[in-house]
Amino acid sequence: MRSSLISKRLFIILLAGLMLPAVQVFGESRYVTKNSKAASADSCVAPTDVMRRNHMDFLQHGRDDTVRDGIRGLKYSLSECIECHASRDSNGQGISVTEEGEFCQACHGYVAVNPACFQCHRTTPAESGSGSSYGYRLEAHTHALGMQQPAGRQRD
């Protein structure tokens, strides 16, 4: 009887020990980072599980439309990803999404993929200074196109 109790306890401790790293990994890498705009949003532009599985396809399809046909303000946009998902430091400065533990890197590191997006694309939100009025222009354009705005950030 006593030995079975010990083995039960051992088993539970072992189980907890096994669970801990898993919990840590998922706790750190699966969810939006704190201090990002996304942390306060209800959901991404599509349900979270859809985004998790398909974001690369969405971006890959959209990029040709934008670069080659000049269609801007698409529902899926890499600059929007970064705008919303990059966390901000105490000064309100955006932290690169490819830094250790940040939104993009955390998952990509975990699944060992190395996307080429950030060889060319900016990894922090646009500074209000550089490219200045671009944001409002794009917004106006998006409205003109009657395209869908990301959920949780509907304007007017």
Binding site: R53, R63, D64, D65, V67, R68, D69, G70, I71, R72, G73, S79, Q119, C120, H121, R122, T123, T124, A126, S130, G131, Y134, R137, L138, A140, H141, A144, L145, G146
Partner: protein
Amino acid sequence: MSNKSDQPSVERRQFIGGTLAAAGALTLAPGVILHAASDSDDAASGAASKHRWGMLIDSNKCAEGCSACVDACNNEHGLQGHDRPETDAVWIRPVKLKDKQTGHVNRLVMMCQHCEHPPCVDVCPTNASFKRVDGIVLVDRHRCIGCRYCMMACPYKARSFVHEALANQSVNAPRGKGCVESCTLCVHRVDAGEMQTACQEACSKEGHAAILFGDLKDPNSEISRVLKSHNSVQIRADLELNTGVRYLNL
């Protein structure tokens, strides 16, 4: 045995349904679909072939010692030099031409001429160099392999190659190591409906107004009116590339 496959069966079904419906619609009424597509041309946005964007540069107004357009371009697109003039990215550069016999000096800015028949597009092995339907010649960096054939082909020496790894690029112009690049006619502004390039804006602010951007296909645009009333030239017109960038008083 329960099937815990994580295949997106719902999405697949929707996709197949959607494709079948689209195929059916095409077979039943191709005319209607095509008409609808061309009707929504305005709203669905993107580049439209009813425009051809171009630029007119007045050589007389281009001021000595002024680099406002170059600075504005660098700032707009996040171009940073490494103090290596041989290899630093240059999208727009001032050029000074001196007639040795008379001593007359011409100044102008040289950039991608956005040809109707661009040699860079002809030679590109991956279709990375391309001309949009509205006449803007661009590099699709998703396809560029950095072979630099286009740089050899360009008669205007308008293209640059990025030799260094970059960080903190402008949102206006994603760019990176191993790709060729050149003037985009501020395509991000054009797509956002703004009718002024960064260089033109800076040039007007300096009070020179040597650069004029506009729609060559719109007979009422300022650029079309000036082109009609003044004698402009294309550089290397003998190549018959029909450039989108023209020059006055050259």
